[in-house]
């Protein structure tokens, strides 16, 4: 039984098809990177996987049960989502925000239990946000806020984590920290991580499996080594890359027209 099974999933609006007969599987303890150009349907796929959107045809099953057959409450025990940055209007504090993930488990009086508080603190520690637990969301930098939302997702204690570009606003150190954290979750807690990302190189360093979506509803999935190749990248993104191999790991450097390396490239006819 696979944790997530997507079978011939199709979705689109009357004007266009976004996903066409997409199929893939993911087990727990796996890290899937979802890549593709803008508009290819990455966020849409996440929304379908979290149950927010309904597929036109095809099916999504979580633990062999169709996603439509889960109630909201049941689904929240299986899947947690970190969406792209949302700017809060009202001043909830960090700890309050993270505690909200436990709302489904609150006692009858409408308050969190002791164990919910402990889970929340654990999540804050894991994302290095415990220090400003009592600050309001509006007072944090985008990067800090991002980590708080990740902490919130962790506090849901689900087996599956869906993340939509969680490192888009983070500086290098925090980017790496998040990737390390997610990897830790995968390895230590056996979670399934599905992450939409634009950074192919970091993705290939951390993810085991990759799903690449094309703007023409084409797709391809497999191990990161299989999927992330110069040809695939050029086909999907329309960008030429040069592959470097460092300690048996593949890295891809995009060749922009005016990139320095490309200038040197041009002047050296042997490359």
């Amino acid at each position: 039984m696979s944790l997530i099974k997507v079978d011939k999933l199709s979705f689109g609006y009357s004007s266009c098809e976004i996903l066409e007969e997409l199929s893939f599987e993911l087990d727990s303890g796996n890290f899937l990177a979802i890549a593709g150009p803008n508009g290819a349907g990455k966020s849409t796929l996440l929304n379908l996987l979290s149950g927010a959107l309904k597929p036109k045809s095809g099916s999504i099953s979580i633990e062999d049960k169709a996603i439509g057959r889960y109630t909201n409450r049941q689904l929240c025990e299986k899947i947690a989502v970190v969406r792209q940055e949302f700017v809060p209007i009202y001043g909830f504090s960090v700890i309050e925000t993270v505690l909200m993930a436990r709302t489904a488990y609150y006692s009858r009086t409408g308050f969190e239990r002791k164990i919910d508080r402990e889970i929340a603190i654990e999540a804050l520690e894991a994302t290095d946000t415990l220090d400003f637990a009592e600050r309001r969301l509006g007072q944090l930098s985008s990067g800090e806020r991002q980590r708080v939302f990740i902490a919130r997702a962790l506090a849901q204690k689900t087996d599956i984590l869906l993340l939509d570009e969680p490192t888009s606003f983070l500086d290098l150190r925090h980017q790496i920290e998040i990737y390390d954290l997610l990897k830790k979750m995968q390895l230590e807690k056996n979670k399934a991580i599905l992450m939409v990302t634009h950074n192919i190189n970091l993705a290939s360093q951390y993810a085991d499996v990759a799903l690449i979506l094309g703007a023409d509803s084409s797709y391809n999935w497999g191990s990161t080594k299989e999927i992330f190749t110069s040809e695939q990248i050029e086909k999907v993104f329309g960008v030429k890359t040069v592959k470097c191999i460092i300690e048996e790991e593949n890295f891809f450097l995009p060749l922009g027209k005016f990139a320095k390396i490309n200038q040197k490239n041009k002047s050296n006819p042997n490359r």
């Binding site: 989502v81 949302f86 209007i89 409408g110 009592e134 309001r136």
Partner: protein, 344 residues
């Protein structure tokens, strides 16, 4: 985690607030155009029909009115909280979804049609105002649902459209009505506190309190929803269900408030923000404290309305605006740093 809200903290805060409310209500009931003495009032409690005017004024004129102000203030403040949270719009007030024009239209129809029957002792104006408000909210809800995915925007737009249409209808009917009827409607629409029978206060107050309790029950869900419907859904909240219950309760208690005292503005807008600024945005606290503070605010405003230009009376809505604006500005300046709204 000293800042965290716990059950104990909430109970204490609400208790203090309620005690403050009761004291203020008692204090205000001794303020009015006629001076009445405390001892005479107490003396009159046992004598039923006597010429103890102090007692009569206290019991039959002041007390019912103050209790009414408390009920209406609580209802408006609470529903203000709900609409601000659900519509994710800090400028939302209880009337935003057309309740005001719906109630107004109901009133005009009642006045023009000349119905004279009463329902449970309420005048036809009150009944029609309530029905008008409820029908309008239902209509706006329906239209909003038809806009599909972006529920909140759809609701707001539907509210705007319905408001505009009904307002036009009101103006049309007003222009062809006889002048006395028009006066009655406009006077009512300006918001006014009047003395009601205790039975009416009992039932009205009971329903409003039940509504507030219901809103308290769904406060954790409201907290989650204020981050966005999708986010709330992924956290296991039944978003549609919560929204429906919240809207229904908020609309109903606003309808009751409006049928009691016409359209009183600012309470539903200012009190929630004030409580939020001082105590934070957690709905569990916000709902309960807003309703108590709403009561206090309206009781104070009504008392001022009664005495400031004695022997005439100002419409309560005027006082709420004059009082509310500056108080809110002061609080805004003082506390906004603590809250850290986006963009600051």
């Amino acid at each position: 985690m000293k800042d965290l809200l716990t059950g104990k903290k909430l109970v204490l805060r609400v208790l203090f607030a309620v005690i403050a409310l009761v004291l203020i209500m008692l204090f205000c009931s001794f303020i009015g155009t006629q001076s009445i003495s405390f001892t005479k009032v107490i003396a009159g409690v046992n004598n039923q029909r006597n010429v103890n005017t102090d007692y009569e004024i206290f019991f039959h004129v002041r007390l019912p009115r103050i209790i009414l102000a408390a009920i209406v203030g609580a209802a408006l403040a609470c529903s203000g909280v709900v609409f601000q949270g659900l519509l994710r719009n800090p400028l939302a007030d209880p009337y935003i979804l057309g309740i005001s024009s719906g109630a107004g239209l109901g009133t005009i129809i009642a006045v023009i049609s000349g119905f004279n029957w009463t329902f449970l002792g309420r005048s036809p104006i009150a009944v029609f105002a309530f029905s008008g408000a409820m029908v309008t909210v239902w209509l706006v809800w329906l239209i909003g649902k038809m806009t599909g995915k972006h529920h909140v925007t759809g609701l707001l737009l539907a509210g705007v459209v319905v408001n505009a249409f009904f307002s036009a209808m009101i103006m049309f009917l007003t222009s062809i009505a006889k002048s006395e009827q028009v006066h009655a409607t406009i006077f009512w629409l300006m918001g006014n506190m009047s003395e009601e029978d205790f039975s009416v206060l009992w039932f009205g107050g009971g329903f409003v309190m039940a509504g507030i309790a219901g809103l308290f029950y769904i406060s954790p869900q409201l907290n989650a929803i204020s981050f966005g419907e999708e986010d709330a859904k992924s956290m296991g909240i039944n978003v549609k269900g919560t929204q429906t219950i919240a809207f229904a309760i908020a609309a109903a208690i606003t309808g009751i408030a409006v049928s009691f005292s016409g359209l009183i503005g600012f309470v539903g807008l200012i009190v929630p923000h004030t409580v939020r600024l001082i105590f934070g945005p957690d709905h569990r606290q916000l709902i309960l404290l807003s309703c108590v503070f709403g009561s206090i605010f309206l009781v104070a405003a009504d008392t001022l309305a009664r005495v400031i230009v004695a022997p005439a009376q100002l419409p309560v809505g005027v006082v709420t605006a004059i009082l509310g604006g500056p108080i809110f500005l002061i609080l805004l300046i003082k506390y906004s740093r603590k809250v850290g709204w986006s963009g600051k």
